[in-house]
Amino acid sequence: MTVSRARTAELIVLVVVAAVILFPVIGVAGQALSPRTGASAFGDTLARVWTVGGFSSALLNSFVVASATTLITTGAAVLAGYAFGAMRFVGSTVLFYVLLVGLIVPLEGYLVPLYYQLRAMDLLDSYAGVVLPLSAQLIPFAVFWTRARFRAMPQEVIDAARVDGAGTWTVFRHVVLPIGRPAILALAVLMFLWSWNDFLLSLIVISSAELRTAPLQLGLFVGQRTTDIPALASGALIISLPVVLVYVLLQRQLIQGVVSGATRG
């Protein structure tokens, strides 16, 4: 087989896999947009679902929840990653092990006690009731991310700043943060996407309709319109568009970060 024929064969494999992955995505978008009967026009269902389904306020809620979660998670993880990555202190290994538990054990494992904790703290049915536990759930991953990136930084730069008499905060502000910026931004994007997609936590925490997040709105919508596929597809399209947009713009840095974080670190 010649080189170019081998390349063509490989291209075909890639295209087939891509088609399999894209089919449900494009298909569901098509279901949402196509006119159903002769009377209805292109995008009709989408417009109807937008007004009837309450998705505009749900998108806004998701935006608030995801932004707040991203800020809190990334901020806390950058600070902790600096401590774990660039400092030596008693108990760092043990504390890191403790964080490892949260990386492995899923929300489902402690869902019930968490619910009672939130109730005791009077956080049920509020933004904070979703944002704080969601941040706590994402923090182990975020700390692993920042720790690995900060550890990979050239130690000489940090040492040089220290020799010049800079304290840990000065080093953090003027050395670690600027160098770590791309990694921190990629982390923030990932945190935004994951917190946008949360469903289970919103399901148990949120009870008033005005506070529902986008995935929760769709989940409940599915319960009401079980077989109305075009309506459900419209809802799916509406709640996915924001994440898909972010993804299309920033996928390169994101995938690079995830893949390299997976094998190094």
């Binding site: 279901q31 402690y110 094998t263």
Partner: protein
């Protein structure tokens, strides 16, 4: 879903202490993480262990029952079914995608294709879509008048068509296949990136030794992908053992109990039946199983020390 990435190597080999001078001030930088993590992960986990030892409906005073809730997990047929279903889902979420992705990796040589980054973006796409939306897409595909049945009747197999998610025997595999679809691209992206990191001289040496493609794959590619295999196995297995969102939008555990999974049982027992002690016990069992599976997987795939 990929909440586990990055820790694989760390878990397998502890590095010697962190770089840098000793700094007491480090604890100050850990305060926000410690507060959030302690309050909303560690404390609920601890309380969950405690709660699982009681009979409690959420309203009346709880009564101590010791390990009865756990005995129930082991003996209650419905709960055992849920955990058995998890096992089936592991095949669909983890075993099948990893095997398929390895085959695809072997088919795609190491030569860089043009436009490979576009394909990579497409393969990774299911990772960032809301699972609820993915569930809706597959509700459409599996619907009685959906595209799957359409294809079957076109190729003359119309007799096989059915409402897939409403079928007692096929609903679970149908849900499982959604998992395969979700994770295979992730595995493939990981493996293709991993192959790029394998030193070229290893392949040259294999060729000089007259290795065929199959031998080359077994002797060079597979060992070279060890780290990626660990990550893929762990991430996909965790996804399989959770799976609440997808079950919620596709089948709600039905028809009958044919697609119930442990995370669904946790939700149903607590928030629909009001049996909080039992729900906590199922949750603790699930958490323990996931923890043990992850530790075993990482240890089992650990590279042998030379």
């Amino acid at each position: 879903m990929a909440g586990w990435i990055g820790a694989s190597r760390w878990l397998r080999r502890r590095r010697s202490g962190a770089p840098g001078e000793p700094h007491e001030i480090a604890y100050a930088y850990l305060v926000p993480v410690a507060a959030l993590y302690g309050l909303f992960v560690l404390s609920p986990l601890y309380q969950g262990g405690w709660m699982s030892l009681f009979h409690w409906d959420g309203i009346n005073p709880a009564t101590w029952v010791g390990l009865e809730n756990y005995r129930d997990v082991a003996s209650n047929p419905q709960l055992r079914t849920a955990f058995t279903h998890s096992l089936v889902l592991v095949v669909f979420y983890a075993v099948l995608p990893i095997a398929l992705a390895l085959v695809l990796t072997a088919m795609l040589s190491r030569a860089r294709q043009r436009g490979v980054s576009v394909f990579r973006a497409i393969f990774f796409l299911p990772q960032i879509l809301p699972v609820v939306a993915i569930g809706v897409a597959w509700r459409w595909i599996y619907a009685p008048d959906g595209p799957l049945n359409g294809v079957l009747s076109t190729i003359g197999l119309g007799g096989l068509s059915r409402g897939w998610l409403g079928d007692f025997t096929l609903a679970l595999p149908a849900v499982g296949f959604v998992g395969t679809w979700t994770t295979i691209g992730f595995c493939l992206v990981l493996f293709l990136a991993g192959v790029q990191n394998i030193p070229t001289d290893l392949y040259d040496a294999a060729q000089i030794d007259g290795a065929g493609r199959r031998q080359e794959f077994l002797a060079v590619t597979l060992p070279g992908l060890r780290n990626e295999l660990v990550v893929a196995a762990v991430v996909t297995t965790i996804a399989a053992l959770r799976g609440f969102d997808l079950i919620y939008v596709t089948t709600q555990g039905g028809p009958g109990d044919s697609t119930v999974v442990p995370s669904w049982e946790v939700y149903r027992r607590a928030f629909q039946f009001g049996d909080f002690g039992a729900a906590a016990a199922v949750g603790m069992t699930l958490a323990t199983i996931i923890f043990v599976v992850v530790v075993v997987l990482t240890r089992a795939l650990e590279p042998r020390e030379a």
